[in-house]
């Protein structure tokens, strides 16, 4: 019994609380129901906002009575109707109502039009433009058999293309995901380090007597192309698998595994450990890195509608960034290859350094501590 009583009290509180004004930004709500040859619009505007524009509170006592609202109603209609147009759909007022929402009372207008709403209707909305530039119209557009399209109408913009303003929007315009891809590889230090480990010996060839510099650029370029292609194909496969959620692996496993690939690739430069060709190893390791890329992809909130397209853009960005690194590093290494210190300093020293960093990353990512500044 006690519980029931307390519950009743809670319920009473909740109802009472809903009566108090919530503090939110000013919004009006438009519900557009589009049929084949007709359009019905329901438009809710806060009385509080209308008072700011039209002074409904005639006696300035802060209380809006029904008489005051009734007297102001023709002005409300004129004011509102002049501030909303939908291209191709002349609107007429069919009926009105008052409604209580959590943040106060709203005037409701039911509008109709005998028109077929365009696929991406142009809505001109300027309500409260001179009163509150942070005001927005929140439009929900409903068509039979289609998902609701949500659109934000900004009075500061003369006309809104409802399709273009639809939310959720793709976070960036066309090409935005390409940029994200480039950024990710250029600022993803672990992927860059892995690539560097693979590239360090590319201007040398392995002979029984150890590393020897190649003679021509072509001798360096072909292995580089082979390795980069293997890496690309492999990480594209796992990126696609992870992005479409066919396969999903925990970052708790992937992140340390990426560190291991760096350690092993660096180790192999100093002391051959791989029983198979580097291209094969690169392919296998590339599979792991692809899952790493996918982790970022999840954060980007790719649009579900154009998912494949966005994924492709992201991957193209990754490849462009990768190409940038590969070309500049290979060119630099090729120029340096005849230096007597190349083998000792660049390959051995560079690989050792990569191993150390890889090992520290491995510790960080498994023991969950911060050692490196990045």
């Amino acid at each position: 019994v006690n519980t029931v009583l307390r519950l009743l009290m809670v319920f009473a509180f909740a109802v009472f609380a809903a009566g108090a004004h919530a503090h939110k930004a000013s919004d009006s709500y438009l519900q557009l129901d589009a049929g084949d040859k007709s359009l019905n619009v329901r438009w809710d505007i806060a009385l509080r906002d209308l008072d700011a524009a039209l002074i409904l509170d005639a006696n300035d006592d802060g209380r809006l009575t029904w008489a005051e609202v009734k007297a102001a109603w023709p002005r409300i209609e004129t004011y509102a109707m002049a501030r909303l147009t939908i291209a191709g759909c002349p609107l007429r007022l069919s009926s009105t109502a008052l409604e209580r929402r959590n943040d106060g009372a709203y005037a409701v207008m039911f509008l109709t039009s005998d028109c077929a709403l365009a696929a991406s209707p142009t809505i001109t909305y300027s309500l409260l433009r001179e009163i509150d530039p942070t005001h927005r119209g929140i439009a929900k557009i409903q068509r039979a058999g289609q998902p609701t399209v949500l659109s934000m109408l900004d009075p500061a913009h003369a006309a809104t293309d409802a399709a273009a303003a639809a939310v959720p929007q793709a976070p960036t315009a066309a090409g935005g995901f390409v940029r994200e891809g480039v950024l990710h590889i250029l600022t993803g230090y672990d992927h860059v380090l892995f690539l560097l480990c693979l590239l360090l010996p590319s201007v040398m060839r392995r002979t029984p007597a150890g590393w020897r510099p190649v003679d021509t650029l072509a001798q360096a370029v072909w292995p580089v192309i082979g390795i980069v292609s293997a890496f690309t194909v492999a990480h594209s496969i796992t990126l696609a698998l992870a992005a479409t959620q066919v396969v999903s692996l925990s970052p708790a496993f992937i992140e340390p595994a990426i560190a291991v690939t760096i350690i092993l690739a660096a180790l192999d430069n100093v002391w051959p450990i791989f029983p198979v060709r580097r291209v094969v190893v690169t392919f296998c390791f590339g599979l792991i890195h692809g899952f790493g890329f996918a982790g970022v992809l999840a954060e980007l909130n790719l649009p579900t509608a154009d998912f494949a397209w966005a994924l492709l853009q992201f991957n193209v960005g990754l490849e462009l960034g990768q190409l940038l690194i590969v070309v500049s590093v290979t060119a630099l290494l090729f120029l340096l290859r005849q230096r007597s210190q190349y083998r000792g300093l660049v390959i051995r020293g560079g690989s050792m350094a990569a191993m150390v960093v890889g090992a520290l990353w491995l510790i960080e990512r498994t023991a969950n501590v911060a050692i490196l500044p990045m």
């Binding site: 519980t3 509180f13 503090h23 002074i55 809006l64 959590n102 934000m152």
Partner: protein, 386 residues
Amino acid sequence: MRQPLLILVLAALLATSLPSRAEPIVPTRDDEVVDVLPAIKGGRAEERRLRQQLAQQPRDPALAVGVAQRYLAQAHELGDPRFAGMAMAALSGWTDATTMPDEVLLMRATLQQYLHEFDASAASLQQLLGRSSGPARPQAWLTLATVRRVQGRYAESDAAARLVARAGVALHAQACLAENAALRGEVASARTTFKALLADPRHPAATRAWLTTSLAELEQRAGSASAADTAYQAALKLDDDGYTTLAYADFLIEQKRPAQALALLKTQVRSDAVLLRLAIAGTQAGASTAAADAAEMRERIALANERPDAQVFHGREQAMFALAVDRDAKRAWELARGNVVRQREPLDLLVLAQAARAQRDPAAVQEARRVTNDIGLRDQRIEGVL
């Protein structure tokens, strides 16, 4: 299941099952009150008069800034963002920042800061500071220092604070630099500076209150709970402004003293920020009011989120609610993470760290640690969590 928890769950269910589209109003009498408008400081008639005057002279800088100032004060007091929008509208006599008078541009930057448009605010201030000279400059540097600090850009905040000093406002410059130093973990020197500034009896009470609050926050971040408590109480005695009240409430909640937090908040206007703390402290205390406060806050959040960009303004509060009341670590993490893109005060980073820890995700913890380190923030509370 413990009873308070049961009630909380049931109340949540009730709240979500209540139609958010509320009922139609069918008035029966002419004198029936259909809506109550928020109280206006100085009276409704005076507000109307000022607005009519402004409509006739929309490009009178003193009038426009005065009206905007009144609305902004109203927004602060009630925690009501509509007034910030109306304040912005008071400045609409100028459309182009390049031709805005200094004081109008400064007001616009202040409003943009309130609306969490920090980059836009900094741009307005830089536009103003790019001009040759003017009396608005010290305040502009000071606001810029604040905006940069909120963004977690301490070096830029320092640079702006030093220019406050050059403009001849030594007290503010010193306090500003000490605040940044304290955030970076140079606690002892910052503490000395604040205490030295407070020892000067010439400062008015409002200034002393603000300095004391800064000192309290420093002690709180340094993990000196009793020193922080003393400083907060002293600050509130000098001036019980909304900011300090909320900060002290957060401190009390952190110290697991929810009953005192509730007592402190009960007298405040139920803005979103206040209601949020009431819900959190109530949940912590198992108070009988907790379920109702939580339900109301949840409803306000749902309402605000009808606008897709609501989390820009509400990210911190929504993350705190998800973490402390809904115990939804995943959602808290997403919100906290979205929030720190723009807003990087210690509380934002603390919530991020707590959400990461609650998720039990090493990658999230790592990320929270990285963001905190990137900023250069040192905060015992965050270090304790991570």
